[in-house]
């Protein structure tokens, strides 16, 4: 971690400007500040209405200063005891730039797919607008283009109602839209998926906050039609037990 920090620091250092008068060898009175954070927004066990147990993670890590940051995002799930490998929904390495007080623009590359040795991963380029919308809606909007040229848009929004000084009710909404059909990845164009959730979170400390919650997940549009044709269930509900953790 230290070596990585050092590397990033060097990469991020702009031409050092002499803002004051100082003699050679004197320290700068104020230095640039870089830090890092690892945040598991969701680290949870899900019990679906199909009576499956699913381990889910949704995390972000970053290193950088006020304007420039390297960001790593990862999200995925593993259905317990089904013998199937973990499903990596996204793993992205991005460069982020703070463009306005509440919004950063991020661009980078990602990969996703089944985490088994023989599966081929879907690699893609991604740009995101991540930030805080008026009325404190926390958003992450991503546009992905894979090697086949398939375009997908994913939007996540969270809101927090402050119940007490250490507990929150958090609605969450996530939708996926395919801008193109994809034969290789069996995606139908149009709005394809909607997932809504509600979590009650209690902070043991600012850094560690367990929660319980419920969610509803549904396929939409052409995607739902296709699933129906295959005889699959287009909706899923479940309860979750997890924690929001950062360090």
């Amino acid at each position: 971690m230290y070596a990585k920090s050092l590397l990033f620091t060097t990469a991020l250092l702009p031409a050092v400007a002499m803002a004051g008068h100082a003699e050679e060898g004197w320290p700068e009175p104020v230095k640039e500040y870089y830090t890092e954070q690892v945040l598991f927004d969701r680290l949870e066990l899900t019990r679906t209405d199909e009576e499956e147990n699913v381990a889910v993670w949704d995390m972000m890590a970053w290193y950088g200063g006020d304007y420039h940051r390297f960001v790593f995002k990862s999200e995925g799930e593993n259905i317990q005891d089904d013998g199937e490998p973990t499903d990596l929904e996204r793993a992205e390495l991005l460069y982020g730039y703070l463009m306005s007080p509440f919004w950063s623009f991020q661009a980078g590359v990602g990969t996703r797919g089944s985490l088994s040795s023989n599966a081929s991963m879907e690699n893609y380029a991604v740009v995101s607008f991540m930030g805080l919308a008026p009325y404190w809606f926390e958003m992450d909007n991503s546009l992905m283009v894979n090697e086949e040229g398939d375009v997908q848009f994913v939007s996540e929004t969270e809101y927090e109602w402050q119940l007490t000084q250490t507990s929150y009710l958090q609605p969450r909404i996530e939708f996926t839209a395919n801008l193109t059909d994809s034969d290789k990845y069996e995606r139908q164009s149009g709005l394809s998926n909607l997932r809504v959730g509600l979590r009650y979170r209690h902070e043991i400390s600012r850094e560690l906050a367990p929660y319980i919650g419920v969610y509803w997940n549904g396929a939409l549009g052409n995607t739902a039609d296709e699933m129906k044709r295959m005889g699959e269930d287009t909706t899923e509900t479940g309860v979750v037990l997890g924690a929001r953790v950062w360090f």
Binding site: M18, A19, G20, W26, P29, E32, T35, P134, T164, Q165
Partner: protein
């Protein structure tokens, strides 16, 4: 109930200390802060040449052992008493494992003695001694503190009193009180918490139930209107202090409320209290229930006496007040953090061991429309918004005094924001900044006693430079809470390519505009700032506190050649880059 509990707890702690060894008690607090109640003249450093040793040592802070930075074994450091006209000889030895420094806050001295690493000198390396030498040409109440990293948060600070040439302090006795905020957390951790988790230390946020209650009491429409603007701006009206009583133990002369720092008086005596806010981040509201206070000096400089019941002291400011307790009973000196998340009390008493009732913390205040620069004038021409002004916002009321008082120079200065605001570094710009010198500040508007305001301050004497300003410099205070970015004109120190240039000998007007939702104590090293508050002689200050969306103007005689620090004195704002070098040449 909690009050009962606290009282019980206090008693317990107190008796626990009584049982502790005399040695342990002696190690608790500096000797000058010990409650002998005499003037401190016989307990303080008054030698012609003074040696100060900076070290880290375990010390009881409140009821727990911490590891503050001590000066001659004490935290806060010893009271240094100098005499106007003497040559100060202060030898500072660094026994830390990192560089250190001492800045003599408010003292006019040569640039190489000002003690700011990287601006006035290179700092004091571990094991080395730096010899500060300067002529003392002023008197009054000042203080000293480290200007290296976050050392100030670890208690690297102390009081500095300069006796007037004639020795007349205008009172029968005096006590020096330095207020500070202590945390058992590592200051670097505190800073990182602020950087990565907005609102980390704020445990006074608005809850959904309070909103429900507002809807029930005043209807949905009015509640929505109150909340709407805050929601659009993504800011909280309860965002008052960045670091709060949730981590801080507030100290008076190094002692917490339970230890009850006490000072003696004889009934009928005039007692001069020299009060210094040596906090890293905390503004205090100070009062002594049952006693009128007469302010006689601000930032060490004499002002015409103003009688008040309470005053707000910004970080790094000092006020001298005279009290004259007539009765043979104890009085509580109550210093309440301005976000009401905690307090520290001490006692003014005719005999040791007495204590008086300790007031309860007042309700958490909320910022009103004025904080957004939407006070009185901003509303003109917009009927709908004009209605919003009548909301119950606590610091947004327009008072009549404002309509009748004489016009200040700053009121005719048109404020220009840089194009497109100040970039991502500024989450807001004050839409219509106003002069707020006549306002006591958030949480004090509706109290039923007299509170000191800046417009009350009148210099006790004329200052030598009576020229009109030839030039004007405008600086905006900017910030973005989300990433804890603090800056001037949208740029932190590391982003600017040169110092702010003053021409040696010029008289200039510094106009500052607070484009943030927080109060900021802005400190200029090396030169006085005369506050244009409509009074003459103007009061002069080393540290001026700006309320949200306030504009102020100050006159400066650029008579001190060299490089000087200019910064927000909230320690973590300075660390974030709300800092400039002023070069006088």
């Amino acid at each position: 109930m909690s009050n009962e509990f606290n009282k019980g707890r206090r008693k317990f702690i107190k008796s626990a200390f009584t049982m502790a060894s005399a040695l342990a008690i002696a190690k608790v607090a500096p000797t000058w802060a010990a409650p002998q109640g005499r003037s401190f003249k016989d307990q303080i450093l008054t030698n012609d040449e003074i040696d100060l040793t900076i070290a880290k040592s375990p010390l009881l802070v409140g009821n727990k052992v911490g590891t503050p930075i001590t000066i001659n074994g004490q935290m806060p450091g010893p009271l240094i008493r100098l005499k106007e006209g003497q040559r100060a000889k202060l030898n500072v030895t660094n026994r830390l494992s990192e560089d250190t420094s001492i800045h003599w806050h408010g003292i006019i001295l040569p640039e190489n003695m000002d003690g700011v690493p990287g601006v006035s000198f290179e700092g004091i390396k571990p094991g080395r001694t730096f010899k500060y030498r300067y002529d003392v040409e002023q008197n009054g109440t000042y203080w000293y503190h480290s200007h290296s990293g976050l050392q100030e948060q670890l208690g690297h600070l102390g009081p500095l009193v300069i006796e007037p040439k004639d020795g007349d302090i205008g009172a029968d006795r005096e006590h020096t009180i330095i207020l500070s905020d202590w945390t058992f957390e590592d200051p670097d951790t505190v800073f990182r918490n602020l950087k990565v988790a907005e609102g980390y230390y704020n445990y006074q946020k608005r809850t959904i139930f309070e909103t429900f209650e507002d809807v029930r009491q005043q209807g949905l429409e009015k509640t929505w209107k109150q909340r709407e603007m805050w929601g659009q701006m993504r800011m909280s009206p309860r965002d008052i202090a960045d670091v709060t009583g949730s981590t801080y133990t507030y100290l008076m002369n190094g002692r917490d409320s339970a230890m009850n720092w006490s000072a003696l008086f004889k009934p009928g005596e005039k007692v001069r209290l020299r009060i210094i806010n040596g906090s890293a981040m905390s503004y205090f509201d100070v009062r002594i229930p049952g006693l009128e206070m007469t302010v006689v000096a601000a930032d060490g400089q004499p002002v015409k006496p103003v009688s008040i019941d309470e005053f707000r002291i910004g970080v790094a400011e000092t006020y001298d007040v005279i009290v004259q307790p007539k009765h043979n009973k104890a009085y509580t000196i109550f210093a309440e953090s301005f976000d009401r998340s905690g307090y520290v009390r001490g006692t003014l008493t005719p005999e040791i061991g007495l204590e008086a009732e300790v007031p309860e913390l007042r309700a958490v205040p909320e910022r009103g429309m004025a904080a957004m620069g939407m006070g009185a004038m901003a509303m003109s021409g917009n009927k709908e918004e004009k209605g919003m002004m009548n909301m119950s916002g606590t610091d947004g009321h327009m008072n009549h005094e404002m309509m009748h008082k004489k016009e200040l120079p700053v009121e005719n200065i048109k404020i220009e924001h840089s194009e497109g605001g100040h970039g991502a570094a500024a989450a807001m710009i004050a839409m219509n900044p106003t002069s707020r010198l006549h306002e006591p500040g958030i949480g004090l508007d509706n109290v039923d006693h007299r509170v000191l305001v800046y417009s009350d301050l009148i210099g006790a004497q004329e200052w030598p430079d009576k020229r009109e300003p030839e030039r004007q410099i405008e600086l905006h205070l900017t910030g973005n809470m989300e990433r804890y970015m603090w800056s001037f004109d949208g740029k932190n120190y590391t982003e600017v390519d040169g110092p702010v240039q003053f021409r040696h000998g010029e008289r200039l007007r510094l106009v500052m505009v607070n484009d943030t939702m927080m109060d900021h104590p802005i400190h200029l090293h090396g030169m006085w700032m005369e506050l244009e508050n409509g009074q003459y002689p103007r009061p002069r200050k080393h540290t001026i506190s700006l309320k949200p969306s306030e504009k102020v103007s100050l006159l400066i005689s650029a008579d001190a050649p060299g490089s000087w620090a200019f910064h927000c004195h909230l320690l973590y704002h300075m660390k974030a880059g709300m800092f400039r070098v002023v070069n006088v040449a």
